[in-house]
């Protein structure tokens, strides 16, 4: 009996994944274009949040600069998809040493943007080793704050404050679906790939090493784990995922602009990651849903219609953050997991053991 | 009525259970020792009395229940706890550490401090020195002095001999004995050094794996074969 139960338990993960896949394939039939856009954004931010989850949740490095990585991915994708001829047509003058190519189909920019951003993340990860928790938070905050400023400054490449306009991609293979529909699939398939990659990384040796480092670096060293290697790698991976998300964002909105990546994005991403649930990949989905839908509901809470909320969505959102940290410090994903465990064992833990971050 | 009474105390740190039903008493004016190996639960017992662990069971001090009160409350009732590692404020000076002892006291800081300096005259010369720069023995004496400033009824010492040279340990325990005999101070001392502890204490409890394994007077324990072999070395 217990064996059956255990195997059923193990089957839950893949079963949910399959159910989600089916849902994704069928959903567009039933929604309008705007909803489709919203759920495309959910996929995009879930990708970014999986990256942040790996960095902060699994390897324990608090980052307030994730939005900058997303921005790097977005700009990379924009530059690559237009290529040098496209940029020059827009009156831009990128320096000759930049390998911009002649333009490419947007979908190919996704992996390249991920790679470029990943390298950037590795670059950040090396000095990050020297900095402790507070200093790292500040350093990443510095990157987030500086990103839009730097993008504006180097206008010959980036289009400055005006940004870069892209063309909307065409649906491939002559499929008879709208562009929005196609982008929805593009985003969710990428999300699925990233999710699988994240799952493989976190359940294997690398994931264990990350958790060991997070829970006690000194102890990890004495178990033979080289923290520097794994922490830097975590930065690279999380940046790569964020870069992919950024590329998709650029493709989806067909426009990149420094003001779409202010420091607030980094902060909100972190908040969404924590509320969704760190240390759990499913948390990224919850976080992304929150990120896309909460600001809207903060203005019009469905429970009580309140003029206050109309005027002060910030207050509602801020109070929401505080209250949910008081009630569910492990995040939403942990809450559901605790429910499942409670159903099985009859006991309910409000705090997760894995969310102890030093 | 005993000054301190523990009845079937279970204590845990988060999910880790450290005490599995410890019962002991300390009468006013006694010196009682708690002995045992590392990890037996000696420190946990003191911490439970000071309300620094999650405890089930009853802890009565002077008849009052203190198990579920805050550590600050317990200290203000006249229980002075010198923890493992001494609990000094490393960046504060010797004098400032002593002044902090006065927080739980009954307002007679100046007289009490003079009394303490009587026991440890070197303190006057080193008043402004940061506590972190003192030697181990001096730190222990400062911690003890600080505890005394608050005019406690019960003094609890956690492993006072840890890391100290034998002569200093003798001196320290000599002072403790003097305090008990001359001023009637009740003392509960946790020690790994069973020999010196049994010299000063009149009664002792031996803890093993979170439970009381043996209890009795010092003489009884010195004759007890198990205690002799495991803790006294002969």
């Amino acid at each position: 009996m217990n064996v059956v139960r255990r195997n059923l338990g193990r089957a839950i993960g893949p079963a949910l994944f399959l159910a989600a896949a089916v849902l994704v394939i069928l959903m567009p039939r039933f929604m309008g274009e705007f909803r489709l856009l919203q759920f495309t954004l959910v996929a995009i931010y879930a990708i970014a949040l999986i990256g942040l989850n790996i960095l902060t949740g699994y390897s324990g490095q608090i980052s307030l600069g994730h939005g900058a990585f997303v921005g790097v991915g977005a700009y990379t994708a924009a530059l690559l998809s237009l290529g040098r001829p496209g940029l020059e047509a827009l009156q831009l003058d990128p320096p000759s040493w930049m390998p911009l190519g002649d333009g490419m189909r947007p979908i190919f920019t996704i992996p390249i943007a991920a790679l470029v951003t990943g390298l950037f993340g590795l670059l950040i990860g090396v000095p990050a080793l020297r900095l402790g928790g507070i200093s790292l938070a500040l350093a990443t905050l510095a990157i987030a704050v500086s990103f839009p400023i730097v993008m504006k400054r180097f206008a010959e490449v980036t289009g400055g404050g005006g940004g870069i306009n892209l063309n909307l991609p065409e649906t491939p293979f002559g499929w008879d679906i709208s562009t929005r529909h196609w982008l929805f699939y593009e985003a969710w398939v990428t999300a699925g790939i990233v999710f699988l990659a994240g799952w493989l990384l976190t359940r294997g040796r690398i994931g264990r090493a990350w958790r060991a480092i997070r829970d006690g670096e000194v102890a990890a060293v004495s178990s033979g784990v080289n923290p520097a290697l794994y922490k830097t790698f975590a930065f690279g991976v999380s940046a790569a995922f964020a870069g992919a998300a950024g590329a998709l964002l650029a493709i989806e909105t067909a426009y990149v602009n420094p003001d779409t990546f202010p420091v607030g994005i980094s902060i909100l991403l972190l908040a969404s990651a924590v509320i969704g649930g760190l240390g759990s990949l499913a948390g990224a989905i919850f976080g992304a849903l929150l990120y896309v839908f909460l600001p809207i509901y903060a203005q019009k809470p469905p429970i009580f219609s309140f003029e206050f909320a109309d005027q002060a969505p910030g207050v509602v959102f801020g109070v929401f953050l505080i209250v949910i940290m008081l009630l569910l410090p492990g995040g939403i994903a942990h809450f559901f997991r605790a429910l499942v465990v409670a159903a099985r064992t009859g006991r309910f833990r409000r705090r997760s053991r894995t969310s102890e971050l030093a | 009525m005993p000054l301190l009474e523990l009845t079937d105390v279970h204590a845990r740190y988060g999910p880790i259970r450290a005490l599995h039903g410890v019962s002991l008493t300390v009468d006013e004016g006694e010196v009682v020792a708690i002995l045992g190996a590392n990890g037996a639960g000696k420190t946990t017992t003191l911490r439970s009395i000071s309300s620094m662990t999650r405890t089930n069971g009853e802890i009565r001090y002077s008849g009052k229940r203190i198990a579920r009160r805050s550590p600050e409350y317990v200290a203000r009732q006249g229980i002075a706890h010198v923890p493992e590692g001494r609990g000094l404020f490393p960046e504060l000076s010797v004098w400032e550490n002593l002044r902090m002892g006065g927080v739980a006291g009954r307002g007679a800081f100046d007289t009490e401090v003079k009394r303490v300096m009587g026991y440890f005259p070197w303190i006057e010369r080193r008043r402004d020195q940061p506590a972190a720069t003192l030697s181990g023995g001096e730190q222990q004496m400062l911690a003890l002095g600080r505890a005394l400033v608050s005019q406690p009824r019960l003094l609890m010492l956690d492993e006072p001999s840890l890391g100290l040279a034998p002569t200093i340990v003798r001196e320290l325990f000599g002072t403790v004995k003097q305090l008990n005999e001359e001023e009637g101070l009740t003392v509960l001392v946790v020690e790994q050094n069973a020999t010196i502890a049994l010299e000063v204490a009149s009664r002792a409890y031996v803890l093993e794996v979170g439970k009381v394994a043996v209890e009795g007077t010092s003489d009884e324990l010195r004759r007890h074969e198990g205690v002799r072999k495991s803790y006294l070395g002969y």
Partner: protein, 342 residues
């Protein structure tokens, strides 16, 4: 007891007080020397350079740095007491500055100033008791999100109560300049420096000479040891947050006349103050002050004399300098090296 490793100081055979004095005076003279040096370099590199203009920039940089120092001191105060980085410190300052603004419609400046400080104190303590206390022992990341939530909530609340239009804020100092030794300085800048100096001295005296100050220092050293001595640690922490809120209010009211009052007024200043605190060593009050002043002078000089940086790249430039310092000395200028105990 985990004793932090003592910072390496030359072994001087003098009392600690004398040693502090020597280091202080030495540091002060050294800073003047460095500034003179920079000025000399600039005489070579700049086409147009006047010494009086240079010192004017230095003074105005110091005034700006004084504001950073106040807020940085608030951050350090809370961090030392509770190991928490209060991201909402800037918004708390903004909020109290708005309260001052409202009060100044009904009373003159200094009474409103004093009343605001009292309100800030109570508010800060209240926030600690109600919002922070329940999460004090949770993982660091949870507390970070709570303070961020507080930031967002206060920002929205200020915008809602007082509406987000930019407002002018009175200064108690006249809007004139005066000449000292051939250098033209704004009285406003001198005033800000003066207020900050008085605040720092009062705070130092409080911690050094009063019983309450001693207890708070003890709590910052070790909460557990304090508890065992009967200290009501919870109330001491609330006191700490109250004092930090007062420091923030002062920073806000000193900054508002120049940067104008709006809900986002302190956001950039918070980042600079955060940088100053980390630069000085997040657990060092002296570091916060020195770091703040240094940063203020640095960004002013960089902005004025380095064309590449100009006005908009000042913040990234300052942060780059900070990061370089941190990479060389991760604990900041005055911080204690963290000894990892297994």
């Amino acid at each position: 007891m985990a004793i932090p490793a003592r910072p390496a100081l030359p072994a001087l055979d003098v009392s600690p007080a004398a040693r502090t004095l020597i280091l202080g005076v030495g540091g002060f003279l050294g800073s003047i020397a460095v500034l003179v040096l920079i000025g000399l370099v600039l005489t070579q590199t700049e086409e147009v350079f006047t010494w009086s203009g240079y010192w004017q920039q230095v003074v105005s940089g110091l005034a700006q740095g004084a504001i950073f120092a106040s807020l940085a001191l608030a951050l350090v105060l809370i961090y030392r007491a509770t190991d928490i980085l209060n991201f909402a410190q800037g918004e708390m300052a903004t909020f109290t500055t708005y309260i001052a603004w409202s009060l100044m419609n009904h009373m003159s400046y200094w009474p409103a100033f004093a009343l605001t400080l009292a309100i800030a104190f109570i508010g800060g303590a209240a926030i600690e008791r109600t919002i922070i206390r329940p999460v004090e022992h949770r993982p660091e990341i949870v507390i970070v999100i709570v303070t961020i939530g507080l930031l967002i909530a206060l920002n929205g609340l200020a915008a809602w109560i007082w509406n987000p239009e930019v407002k002018a804020f009175d200064s108690p100092f006249p809007n004139r300049t005066t000449e000292i030794g051939g250098v033209v300085v704004a009285i406003q800048d001198l005033g800000v420096l003066g207020v900050t100096l008085v605040t720092v001295i009062l705070l130092w005296a409080f911690f050094r000479f009063t019983a309450l100050g001693l207890v708070m220092r003890a709590v910052a050293n070790s909460q557990d040891a304090s508890r065992l001595l009967g200290v009501r640690v919870g109330w001491m922490l609330a006191l700490g947050w109250g004092l930090a809120a007062v420091l923030g209010a002062i920073a806000g009211m000193m900054a508002a006349p120049s940067v104008f009052l709006d809900p986002n007024m302190m956001l950039i200043i918070l980042i600079y103050s955060f940088a100053a605190a980390v630069l000085g060593g997040i657990d060092s009050p002296v570091g916060a002050i020195v770091g703040g002043l240094m940063l203020g002078v640095l960004i002013n000089l960089l902005g004025t004399y380095v064309d590449f940086i100009g006005g908009d790249l000042r913040l990234p430039a300052a942060l780059v300098v900070l990061l370089i310092v941190l990479l060389i000395r991760p604990q900041g200028l005055f911080g204690h090296k963290v000894v990892r105990r297994v």
